[in-house]
Symmetry: none
Subunit: 125 residues, 4 copies
DNA sequence: GTGGTCTAGACCACT
DNA sequence: GTGGTCTAGACCACG
């Protein structure tokens, strides 16, 4: 498993780790029932503390991306692609909502927001 | 001046205060050269410490929304509406960028993101 | 006497007042033995407190630009132009020295400093 | 790290601290990604309060000389020498501008100012 | 009265 | 252990 934690990132380490595992599950790099490295092994590999890995694993477990069997290890939860896709979209929607709220609090109309979003979208192409 | 701070918000107090003042400047409730309440008065009114208010005021001063003069008080900076608008848009753009990055890390294409954004926009109407 | 105090200036009011009187003495607008307005009168005129004017007058007296006769008033000290010029240059030199020190502390050589100074001088023309 | 704070300086403590750290970054004593002492450790060492150190660190972070991560520490930001040089020159330019303004307010022509500057430069050699 | 600086504590999230 | 936030005091310069 390829993980890269950056010391300069503003995200806390546990979140960087969590996000990277999550993404690998989403894009199919990590398939259902794959066994993840043990907390201690992974901690050693990416040179961080056990606590950090533990936190990432348990939050992913709570979000139903992983499951743990005591004494055996931690595994990727087998999930239909469709369900996975739904999860992803739901998370994205939450953030879009937040964005709309921010825009409104700044006094922007929804049309003004869309104009800006469209412009930035074009720039990204 | 109407301020409401919540202990339940996950934003720190100084940020809640800062955001509310900023918004009132943006929407025109607070006009240029208006004198704000003194840090001590405001602190008493909203039942928080002087330092919390001070911090909100100084960050807003740094972002050029306020100016403060020792011994005289703190005032809203007179700013052309056009400049204000630019500041607002810039802040919004930063957040849109962040959203696009999040979407990409979730494996969504930019078109998929736009579809979701459009759908939520319609729902908000 | 023409005085303009700005609320937006970063300088304290007493310093703005002091500097403006000083400049008028230097450029000859205020000649030797001219009587200045009384502290109270001036304070009323420029809409500030007596304390502020008092401080400006007494610092100028200390720097030998003014003299006060109890019960009679405050007057501009008659000074040869040559002496005045010397005072001015001395004050300016102090600031130049400070600038050189700052530059040195920033790791700039004296030649680098001169290059920047020359460039800014040209731009001001 | 060598820091010396003086109670006699008219600069506030946090500014003295800030300036000294900044200078060590500029002259290369502190290299990119070097970890600075924790705010608590440094506060103890230089016998000042945690808040004073915190303030110096955060202002330097805002000026992009440092970055700090909760739970990890505070580090010198890796910056190209070229960028660093630009920052330094910009700061110096601000001060030169101020000097020119002072000179003008004293009734000196720009050529008179340059004469004085040149003379003092020669004396420093 | 105003803001600017500083101290000596405290609790929280993160490692 | 680290930094982030917050409180309740204090003294100073300015008006």
């Amino acid at each position: 498993m390829w993980i890269h934690l950056s010391n300069e990132s503003k995200d806390p380490l546990y979140k960087q780790l969590k996000d990277q595992i999550k993404q690998q599950i989403i894009d199919g790099t990590l398939e259902g029932d794959t066994e993840l490295p043990s907390i201690r092994t992974l901690a050693k590999n990416i040179q961080t503390s056990v606590i950090t890995v533990k936190r990432a694993y348990s939050e992913l477990e709570q979000e139903e991306f992983l499951y743990t069997r005591a004494g055996r290890g931690t595994f990727v939860k087998a999930t239909e692609k469709r369900i996975l896709q739904q999860k992803v979209e739901k998370q994205f929607e939450t953030e879009v909502d937040r964005l709309f709220q921010l825009g409104a609090s700044l006094g922007l109309s929804i049309e003004e927001m869309m104009t800006i979003i469209q412009r930035l979208k074009e720039e990204r192409k």
